[in-house]
């Protein structure tokens, strides 16, 4: 009964969105403010309705209501309560409901604000929200409803329906199928909501951009209004990507973090265009130029968001992520067309109204470097897109499907990412407008040799041979030196000024100029992350060995000894755990516990790597093979992964930097 109630609430929200759109359009045509206000109230009301619908779903999940098909498919009795809760986005219908909820929530935050200067923009941005809400709520109500229940006829035939049809009885399975054990990892549990927050966060900037195009407002107000939304969406998207990497590293057990799977790429693409947008938005704020460029980038970003959702949810590409046999493919295709063709069409229609008035002189300046970084970001994006459509294209042209794999992406994007590292080092040196290289000379004399120490030391001490890796280390070193230098100079200035306390002076730059130093902190986070990536791509060492108890294998100065296997079981799983002790140049360094868990009632096994991690490197071992009849022998794959931890630490720094950059300036309060 309660599930039908949930369904009816969602249907009501859908009708309200329809009402809002109609009355808004009518109000805009007839210029009646009361109608626009009515639409605003409708938008405000949709959120509590969708929240109620979602609360019903959560209630069903927590109470093991397996007569509901969605609950049956993603949950099971023995799952802990928090997993039951997060099963909300564990399957297709639930995650679409979650999408709608986020969308209505963001629309509410937007619609409940006071708009004085933006009375003209606001209704059009609302219009975009309504169209998207109608679409996603429509999916929840008609095509992918999470509230369908199982029914059976007297002859044993079965069907799925929200309401009770005639002559059928409710079918209540004893237990659900449960969440795939591979997905029961914190990284994978928080990866989808972080990505969705990132995806949906671009709705408001997109709506404001459309409003700007419709109203021909040229003062760049949309970009100022969108800034916190874009940055917030961007940081969630970044975190979503990193959580996915962490999951792959901890669970998939191939010693990697990123597999260039089409679905991963689909999430990376909007991140790339949004990153490009964040950089050129700076240029627009400096001189109100690049209006067309930024409008194009936000339309591109949001189209890619919908494309990403389409790819993950429609099953057009064969990938580990896709849900087979999906019905929502065509519907997603339609909304993708509306967003991208509609946005692009409007942009072309208004092209002449947003001509640029800003001219940048070519040379060594922050403006030119920013533009160049844009070119690099968009090149990587282009490569990603090319890789995804290559199989389809080659099939059409030659009749044979040619696909490209991780090696292809790595070879092309490797140098491009390296270039971004260099740009991050150069950019803070250059000023807005042209910089005389002469003025930089005294800084370069110190910076270049100092940064060269990084690859030199890694060559001498770490025995790093690859030129590629050495260059990457050099540029990462240079970027971090430059960023630290900038920060120290700002702290010095603060010390000379009013502030006499070191601690206060350390905080001063971040407080005074949030945008600049928040941005630098984000860059610093990215440089730290790059260290982890350089470690995995360039410095990883691995070996696969068969060991008897007491035997050992070595990688470099490390020796791994197989001490034996332990077996234990609980209600759900039977675990085989091997013990490998580590010696570092003869000194004990702890142990690794790679294991294999068998979920008997699911017929699934999960291989869990044994990891011992510190700031310099990770020891990482996988139990490849072990048989009960030969209990004192096992095959292992052992990796030494240098610097990996910096990938996760860097993402924390990046988040912190974004928070600093987004937080509004504190208002001065005089206490007297």
């Amino acid at each position: 009964m309660i599930s039908s109630f949930g369904y009816l609430i969602l249907a009501l929200a859908f009708l309200l969105a329809l009402y809002g759109l109609v009355i808004l359009i009518y109000g805009l045509i007839q210029k009646i403010p009361a109608f626009i206000e009515s639409a605003r109230l409708a938008l405000v009301l949709i959120f509590p309705l969708v929240t109620a619908g979602m609360a019903v779903m959560v209630f069903l999940l927590l109470n093991d209501r397996f007569d509901v098909a969605y609950v049956y498919s993603v949950s099971s009795r023995e799952m802990p309560a928090y997993l039951k809760l997060t099963a909300l986005w564990g399957g297709q219908e639930g995650s679409l409901l979650f999408w709608s909820w986020l969308l209505s929530g963001f629309s509410l935050v937007f619609a409940s604000r006071k708009f004085r200067e933006e009375r003209d923009l606001f209704p059009w941005a609302m219009l975009v929200s309504f169209v998207l809400l109608i679409f996603f709520l429509g999916l929840n109500v008609f095509l992918a409803t999470p509230f369908e229940r199982f029914w059976h006829f007297s002859d044993g035939g079965r069907l799925l329906s929200v309401f009770q049809p005639q002559n059928v009885w409710l079918l209540t399975p004893r237990d659900g199928q449960g969440l795939n054990p591979l997905l029961r990892h914190p990284g994978m549990i928080w990866h989808p909501p972080a990505l969705y927050l990132g995806f949906v966060g671009f709705v408001i900037p997109f709506g404001l951009a459309i409003a700007t195009l419709v109203t021909k407002r040229r003062d760049g107000r949309w970009i100022e209004l969108s800034r916190p939304w874009i940055l917030t969406a961007w940081v969630f998207l970044s975190l979503g990507l990193v959580l996915g990497m962490r999951w792959a590293y901890d669970v998939l057990g191939w010693g990697g973090y990123w597999g260039w799977d089409p679905v991963e790429i689909a999430a990376l693409m909007p991140w790339l265009s949004a990153t490009a947008l964040i950089h050129t938005a700076l240029l627009q704020r400096k001189g109100n130029g690049y209006q067309r460029w930024n409008l194009s980038l936000i339309i591109l970003t949001f189209s890619l968001v919908i494309f990403g959702t389409f790819i993950t949810r429609s099953g057009v590409l064969s990938s580990v992520h896709t849900f087979a046999g999906s019905d929502i493919g065509p519907a997603m295709f339609i909304i993708m067309g509306i967003v991208s063709i509609g946005g692009l069409g409007l942009l072309i229609y208004r092209w002449r109204d947003f001509g640029s008035i800003q001219e940048i002189e070519f040379g060594f300046s922050r403006d030119v470097l920013t533009l160049f970084s844009n070119l690099v970001f968009l090149s990587i994006l282009m490569v990603c897109f090319l890789g995804v459509i290559y199989p389809i294209f080659s099939d059409l042209l030659t009749g044979t499907q040619v696909t490209v794999g991780p090696a292809w992406y790595e070879r092309i994007t490797g140098p491009l990412f390296l270039l971004l590292l260099l740009l991050m080092g150069l950019c803070p040196l250059a000023a807005w407008g042209l910089t005389q290289i002469n003025k930089l000379r005294h800084r370069l004399i110190i910076l270049i040799p100092a940064s060269l120490l990084v690859p030199l030391l890694s060559w001498l001490l770490g025995n790093v041979k690859s030129i590629y890796t050495l260059v990457a280390l050099w540029w990462a070193g240079m970027a971090s030196f430059v960023i630290l230098w900038e920060y120290i100079r700002a702290v010095q200035r603060a010390l000379k000024g009013s502030s006499n306390y070191i601690l206060r002076a350390l905080w001063q730059p971040l407080k005074r100029n949030r945008r600049r130093y928040g941005g630098l902190l984000v860059h610093f986070g990215v440089v730290l992350m790059s260290l982890g990536i350089i470690g995995l791509e360039g410095l990883q060492q691995e070996t696969q060995v068969r060991l008897k108890r007491g035997e050992s294998a070595s990688i470099g100065a490390y020796q791994y000894t197989f001490e034996g296997v332990e077996r234990f079981a609980d209600t759900e799983t039977a675990t085989t755990q091997a013990v490998l002790t580590i010696l570092d140049q003869g000194q004990p360094e702890g142990a690794l516990y790679p294991s294999r868990e068998v979920y008997a009632n699911l017929g699934m096994a999960v291989t869990i790597p044994g990891v011992k991690s510190d700031l310099s490197l990770d020891h990482y071992a996988i139990l490849v093979d072990w048989q009960p009849d030969l209990p004192d022998e096992a095959t292992f794959r052992i990796f030494v992964n240098p610097l990996v931890n910096w990938l996760w630490i860097g993402s924390g720094v990046l988040t912190l930097g974004t928070i600093v950059a987004v937080l509004p300036k504190p208002r001065k309060i005089n206490i007297k």
Binding site: G289, G325, T403, R411
Partner: protein
């Protein structure tokens, strides 16, 4: 990006266009060289069997249904052996023949279906089991065995499975 194009390009704009153009040419060269070096031909097992000799040392990508009994891990060498059976490449064709799980089941049960042996060095993936779909990249060796460098597995979605049994 300005409306001055009609008046001809200024030398400043020319510098931007030339440097940007050079950069893009470099990217295109990178793409072409990477495509030559690493692109893989996607084939069905049937196609692979037909032109086995011409395909040696070529980067290939095949997809097939895993035969459960054939899975064997060789402890001495650390090599994983298994056999996969032909399935149609086209997603539409799969839809026509029914859901993926049915296609995989038919592929495995029909002994006349072309099959190919696979060898892979590495851990036994958790999803490698009877009637899962394997997507492999690698090369054919001189004995006609597929040497896989990468192994991606897909299990038919649980949404396709039959409805549950009634509770007691």
């Amino acid at each position: 990006m300005t409306d001055e194009k009609k008046k001809g390009l200024s030398s400043n704009q020319l510098k931007f266009i030339i440097s940007g153009g050079l950069f893009l040419i470099a990217v295109v060269i990178l793409i072409i060289s990477a495509t030559r070096g690493t692109a893989e031909f996607f084939m069905t097992i049937e196609e692979l069997k037909l032109s086995e000799k011409d395909l040696q040392d070529q980067n290939l990508r095949v997809s097939g249904a895993v035969l459960g009994e054939s899975i064997y891990f060789e402890p001495e060498t650390g090599l994983l052996h298994f056999t996969i059976a032909h399935i149609p490449a086209d997603e539409d064709l799969i839809k026509e023949e029914g859901e993926l799980s049915k296609v995989l089941h038919q592929a495995v049960s029909n002994p006349d279906n072309p099959r190919i042996s696979v060898v892979y060095e590495g851990a036994m993936p958790d999803m490698l089991r009877n009637e899962s779909q394997a997507i492999l990249t690698g090369q054919l060796n001189s004995e006609g065995v597929f040497v896989a460098e990468e192994l991606l597995l897909k299990c038919p979605s649980k949404y396709e499975e039959a409805l549950p049994d009634q509770a007691e």
